[in-house]
């Protein structure tokens, strides 16, 4: 079902789906037993939530994103997917924010019980190229393969039951830099169906056999050369419109040779150590496991929960705190994400979605931090870090 087939993706253009026929896709997926989630406007952002009809999708909304700021604005047109993205990637659907892995009962004898996730096929509409790239990075962490001797059964079960309707981005947010990370804005693999939004229709293609089967049930019209070109041009334009790019050249040596760079102190003056960057990141996988006992002492649950390298608990090992200061924790995050990840998993931990930039409450931009470290010492300019109000 997944587009994880080896080699080239099965990318094909199957045809055109009129925008007012999108509901047929949703109903087809529902009829096939999928719980369908898609973009919904909630609390001033686009989040993933249950969708039962196409008219529940947000119409004509664009996200205006900049460091530390996200606003939805009305575009005045009827387009559905120009919002680009919200704080959530596909992460929560595969690597749950919190779940109980096993329970123990004590009633005369001690009994362990495994807790496996309920198997319910899930279809997600609106995943972006960066999200798919994020899944492929997390696969290396959670699935058995070259980087792992074991599969995480919770992740693997959800992964096998996930149907992805991707959307090739025809608009980029100001914080996007997927083009420079070579992950987007065109979704290349890992989807079942991909859509490109045109004026009043979607150019539709399948990326897997399961996707092809669903497309066979849709009222598709033939796509012409003009529409295919138009879609390709719109995706290219989204790539060209990106103003941020991460220079990854020699990045492992750059970061590891600069572990005592003054920039780590500078960023520590701006970093809140709140952990938002790590939780919105599609690839961050740090978690903790704790046991929660019932008050009567008869049972306990072993819980796994998203953690962050910005918590002190995460840096507390064998009776010692190894990352006592914010500079240590920011450095741990950035060096792992952009450099150590490559050694560990053979790929960068950054997919260029820019969520850590947008959703950082103080607007720290990792690209700026890397650039500052790259900059020769003579050209460095310190950021103002004192309360301006004291003047």
């Amino acid at each position: 079902m997944l587009g994880t087939a080896k080699g080239e993706p099965v990318m094909s253009v199957a045809g055109l789906l009129k925008r007012d026929q999108l509901d047929v896709l949703i109903q087809t997926l529902r009829a096939r037993g999928y719980r369908v989630v898609g973009p919904r406007a909630k609390s001033g952002a686009i989040v993933y939530d249950e969708v039962s009809r196409a008219d529940e999708l947000p119409v004509g909304l664009v996200s205006v994103q900049e460091p530390g700021r996200y606003r939805l604005e009305d575009s005045g047109n009827g387009r559905l997917f120009d919002y680009v993205h919200g704080p959530e990637s596909l992460k929560r659907f595969l690597f749950a924010p919190q779940e109980t892995l096993w329970t123990v009962e004590q009633n005369g004898e001690v009994r362990f019980k495994e807790t496996l996730p309920e198997i319910r096929p899930l279809a997600v509409i609106g995943a972006r190229a960066c999200d798919l790239a994020g899944v492929s990075v997390q696969d290396r962490t959670f699935l058995k393969g070259r980087y792992n001797d074991f599969s995480d059964p919770y992740y693997a079960t959800r992964r096998e039951n996930l149907f992805i309707v991707a959307v090739h981005c025809t608009r980029s947010a100001a914080t996007c830099f997927c083009a420079s990370m070579n992950t987007g804005p065109r979704a290349r693999e890992g989807y079942d169906i991909a859509l490109t939004e045109l004026e009043d229709a979607f150019l539709v293609g399948a990326g897997s056999a399961a996707g092809e089967a669903v497309l066979a049930d849709l009222p598709l019209q033939p796509a012409h050369e003009g529409e295919i070109t138009q879609a390709a041009q719109a995706i290219d334009a989204a790539a060209r419109s990106q103003t941020r790019r991460l220079d990854t050249e020699n990045i492992q040596a750059l970061l590891f040779n600069n572990l005592e760079h003054p920039r780590w102190d500078d960023v520590a003056e701006r970093c809140l150590s709140c952990g938002n960057c790590t939780l919105v990141c599609p690839t961050c996988f740090c978690h903790r496991e704790t046991d929660v006992a019932s008050l009567d002492g008869k049972e306990s649950g072993h819980q796994r929960q998203w953690d962050s390298c910005f918590t002190l608990e995460h840096g507390y090992l064998h009776g010692a705190q190894i990352r006592p200061q914010i500079r240590h924790r920011y450095r741990q995050w950035l060096t792992h994400k952009l450099a150590a990840w490559i050694e560990q998993f053979g790929v960068s931990g950054c997919v260029g979605c820019g969520r850590c930039i947008t959703w950082c409450p103080t607007g720290i931009d990792l690209i700026e931090e890397v650039n500052a470290i790259r900059l020769p010492a003579a050209l460095r300019r310190r950021h103002g870090a004192q309360p301006e109000a004291k003047t």
């Binding site: 909630k42 609390s43 001033g44 952002a45 989040v47 530390g68 700021r69 996200y70 606003r71 919200g86 704080p87 959530e88 929560r92 924010p97 919190q98 520590a268 003056e269 701006r270 970093c271 809140l272 150590s273 709140c274 952990g275 938002n276 939780l279 919105v280 704790t290 929660v292 006992a293 019932s294 008050l295 009567d296 002492g297 306990s300 929960q305 998203w306 953690d307 962050s308 910005f310 918590t311 002190l312 608990e313 006592p324 200061q325 914010i326 947008t358 959703w359 950082c360 409450p361 103080t362 309360p387 301006e388 109000a389 004291k390």
Partner: protein, 257 residues
């Protein structure tokens, strides 16, 4: 600790709201009573037993000279001492007097100031005796209290997370009110434990669980200034229920004229 735990709940300068969180455990309170001896809890029962206690929960700040004496006696009679709530843990709302002239308040408010025996400062228990664990919040959170009680009954160190509220928001899928709405949310520098109650209802966190373990109040204050708050607003934001907690105190101090 072997056998049944002997538990005590003590009150100092406070509104009793955290003790009420204890009482509101209802059915769970009966379970607790079946596994532990609640030896002293005057909010619940006028029958009280003297120490020693295995665990003393202390509500309220140290606010009078009698408090100073009593907290030492409680410490001496308790194997573990756990503070409950903003007052016992950070000095509470009443610590707002710490920035003002205490004697002037007493003269202005009371007809017979000579009857009043209050200290110039309202201070947390930890400024006077050793504290083994702290449950933050105004009031404390029942789920956290239950977890601490379960951990104590299981004879393991109580687990009280010190991370930011943001982690709880992101796990729950709440949209960030600071980034998406420009609200001056204290969540990034505030300790989790409330279940992200305010952001869940699209409200900015006002820090009732006190400072997170190692946040950066100075940087958040700067962000609040960019969002349009005045220096005075930033001071007021941080100097509230947990204003005397060192991280909030320092964060407010930076913007004080």
């Amino acid at each position: 600790m072997t056998g049944r735990l002997r538990i005590a709940v003590h009150k100092f300068a406070s509104c009793d709201g955290c003790q009420i969180q204890f009482l509101n455990l209802e059915q769970d309170l009966l379970t607790l009573a079946s596994r532990a001896e609640i030896a002293h809890f005057t909010e619940a029962s006028s029958v009280t037993q003297p120490g020693p206690y295995d665990v003393s929960f202390v509500e309220g700040s140290i606010s009078t000279s009698a408090d100073l004496q009593r907290i030492r006696e409680i410490r001496a009679a308790s194997r573990l001492l756990i503070t409950i709530g903003a007052c016992a843990t950070a000095g509470g709302l009443q610590a707002l007097r710490n920035w003002k002239d205490h004697d002037e308040f007493v003269r202005a408010i009371y007809a017979r100031p000579e009857y009043i025996d209050s200290l110039a400062r309202s201070t947390p228990v930890s400024e006077h005796v050793k504290v083994d664990a702290e449950l933050w919040g105004c009031p404390i959170d029942q789920r956290q209290l239950k977890r601490v009680l379960s951990d104590l009954l299981a004879r393991v160190a109580p687990r009280i997370p010190g991370e930011s509220v943001c982690l709880e928001c992101k796990r729950a899928g709440h949209v960030c009110v600071l980034v998406a709405k420009g609200e001056p949310c204290l969540g990034p520098v505030t300790r989790t434990g409330c279940g992200a109650l305010c952001p869940r209802y699209e409200r900015d966190c006002y820090g009732c669980f006190g400072p997170q373990e190692d946040g950066n109040t100075l940087a958040l204050g700067r962000r609040f200034r960019e969002l349009g708050l005045s220096d005075e607003d930033v001071v007021r934001r941080l100097r509230f229920i947990n204003g005397w907690a060192p991280a909030f105190r320092a964060g407010a101090q930076a913007w004080e004229k």
